[in-house]
């Protein structure tokens, strides 16, 4: 058995080791591979940058732990930008699995950026009844959320004094692993003309491009790459960019494997003039 055959019979556990290393190293020592930003992400960033300080933003954490790795970096990046620009943030979630995540992130980032709950942000918590909740914001968000997650009446908070409906809200950002952005578009944008930006998983991204073309979404972050681009724009590298390093390494590693595998395969064919059967199902 020559070297090529040996290589083709490579124990897959060596591959596993490479994959593991390829993810761990960049997470600990980021390499900062050049991420080129794309218009959909730039538009979200510019929109938030252009809002005059004091303009409230609704940030809806519409996902659960299953899509957390892809989506939380977006929530973090946008929250940081809002805090640094002194834009009051109204955190909420329409996903029953959301509150835990929203709490963790808001506390961590607030601490880091020196933002205060009730002054720079509030967390409304979770409320069932998707469309009803979104619609109620057109009249008064207190219809759905008379009090916040800690059951403190919203009017106790100075920042909430002048915030009533979409008219007072500069932008709604929904981070979701499923179809929540569609609901926001249908009820908040179509009915009340509110500006909507979305952060979605890489798999969902394709479904939302049409909304970008029609302008129903002012912008969109797609998957870890979207988060990475955003971190690059706001100059705060974090899980997104680190993740992207890992992503790139793994993708390149797999492609390399395929190429090497095929080179070896060709040589083996040369050696023994017998081709193997084609792939199943073909």
């Amino acid at each position: 058995m020559n070297i090529y055959e040996k290589f083709l019979r490579l124990d897959r556990r060596y591959i596993f080791i490479f994959v593991a290393v390829g993810v761990v190293i960049p997470l600990i020592f980021p390499m900062g591979l050049a991420v080129s930003t794309s218009p959909p992400v730039e538009n979200v960033y510019k929109e938030i940058q252009s809002l005059p300080p004091g303009t409230p933003i609704v940030l809806s954490v519409d996902y659960d732990p299953s899509t957390e790795p892809e989506l939380s970096p977006m929530t973090v990046a946008i929250l940081r930008q809002c805090f640094s620009r002194k834009l009051p943030v109204i955190l909420m979630t329409l996903h029953p699995g959301g509150p835990g995540l929203a709490l963790d992130i808001s506390h961590k980032i607030a601490q880091e950026m020196g933002a205060k709950e009730g002054v720079d942000y509030v967390f409304l918590g979770y409320k069932a009844g998707l469309s009803a909740v979104i619609l109620s914001f057109g009249q008064d968000l207190r219809i759905s959320f008379p009090a916040d997650y800690n059951n403190v009446p919203l009017d106790r908070y100075p920042m909430m004094k002048n915030i009533k409906s979409y008219n007072d809200i500069g932008l709604v950002v929904t981070i979701s692993g499923s179809t929540f952005p569609e609901a926001w578009i249908a009820y908040a944008h179509e009915r009340y003309g509110e500006k909507i930006a979305a952060g979605v998983t890489a798999v969902m991204a394709a479904d939302y491009y049409p909304y970008l073309q029609t302008g129903q979404l002012i912008g969109m972050l797609g998957g870890l790459k979207g988060a990475a681009e955003y971190e690059k724009l706001s100059g705060r590298p974090d899980r997104g960019l680190k993740g992207m390093d890992a992503q790139t390494i793994i993708h390149l590693f797999i492609v390399l494997l395929i190429i090497l595998g095929n080179i070896a395969y060709v040589f083996v064919l040369r050696a023994q003039r017998r081709g193997a059967p084609g792939p199943s199902g073909a």
Binding site: R13, F16, V19, A20, V23, V24, L27, I28, E68, P69, E70, T201, A202, V203, P210, Q213, G223, L224, K225, R239, G243, A246, Q247, I250, H251, I254, A282
Partner: protein, 236 residues
């Protein structure tokens, strides 16, 4: 670097490593984690189903309906919940050898109802929606003579792609459908067309394989992040 002081984080981390140990080979740690996961999740589902379905959709309405019936003697809509209740009990007869065959009544109900839902659902989502989607993309027809016009007006790579993409889609669908013809051997003309169908299938499969890699790697990143950040505190 500050390691977590939360016992639950340690448990989660330990179990995570137990599962990963399977990548090396089957071992007692994995066996432990596997059996624990099976047991816990099986129990979890029963509890969740009880609180989220049985309680609101069976027990509460039936008891309410019964209350009304006994006090006022009137039948209320909430008594409809008796239907699945009885069928559910019939399912349980499967445990009794003598009358086990009764459970088929419930199965008949279950399968019958779903077949009805499937027929309409499949026609709507799998057939009509797909035929429509073959012609229409984002409200516009997938191709038109005009697009070819643009190409001949000012030839260019972009324009030719725009022009041929639509027809390509339709050809692809037709060829793929031909591959699924069972009445003819894959020979002659149908054979050739089916071959083209296979080409489309393979390109499609390759693409969605590549497309999925990213999402899967993100999941791994998520777990590693948990281990390095929440547990070991190596990254802030």
């Amino acid at each position: 670097m500050h390691i977590s002081h939360d016992i639950w984080v340690w448990i989660a981390a330990a179990l995570t490593l137990c599962i990963y140990s399977f990548l090396y080979k089957d071992n007692p740690f994995y066996k432990f984690a596997e059996h624990l996961l099976v047991g816990v999740s099986a129990g979890y589902l029963l509890v969740i189903d009880y609180y989220n379905n049985l309680l609101p959709n069976l027990i509460t309405p039936v008891s309410k309906g019964m209350g009304v019936l006994l006090t006022t003697g009137q039948f209320t809509g909430s008594l409809a919940a008796l239907v699945p209740g009885i069928l559910g009990l019939i399912i349980l007869t499967r445990m009794l050898p003598k009358v086990g065959w009764m459970s088929r009544w419930a199965l008949g109900f279950y399968f019958g109802a779903y077949q009805g839902l499937i027929i309409t659902g499949a026609m709507q989502a799998n057939i009509l929606a797909q035929v429509w989607g073959t012609f229409v993309k984002g409200g516009n027809p997938v191709f038109s003579v005009a697009l070819f016009g643009d190409f001949f007006a000012h030839p260019g790579f972009g324009h030719i792609i725009l022009a041929i993409s639509g027809p390509l889609m339709i050809i692809g669908v037709i060829c793929t459908l031909t591959y699924f013809f069972f009445s003819t051997e894959h020979k002659g003309i149908p054979g050739g067309v089916a071959k083209v169908g296979i080409v489309f299938l393979m390109i499609g499969f390759g693409a969605s394989f590549g497309y999925t890699v990213m999402a899967r790697v993100s999941l791994l990143i998520g777990r590693i992040n948990f281990l390095l950040t929440d547990w070991l505190g190596l990254i802030r």
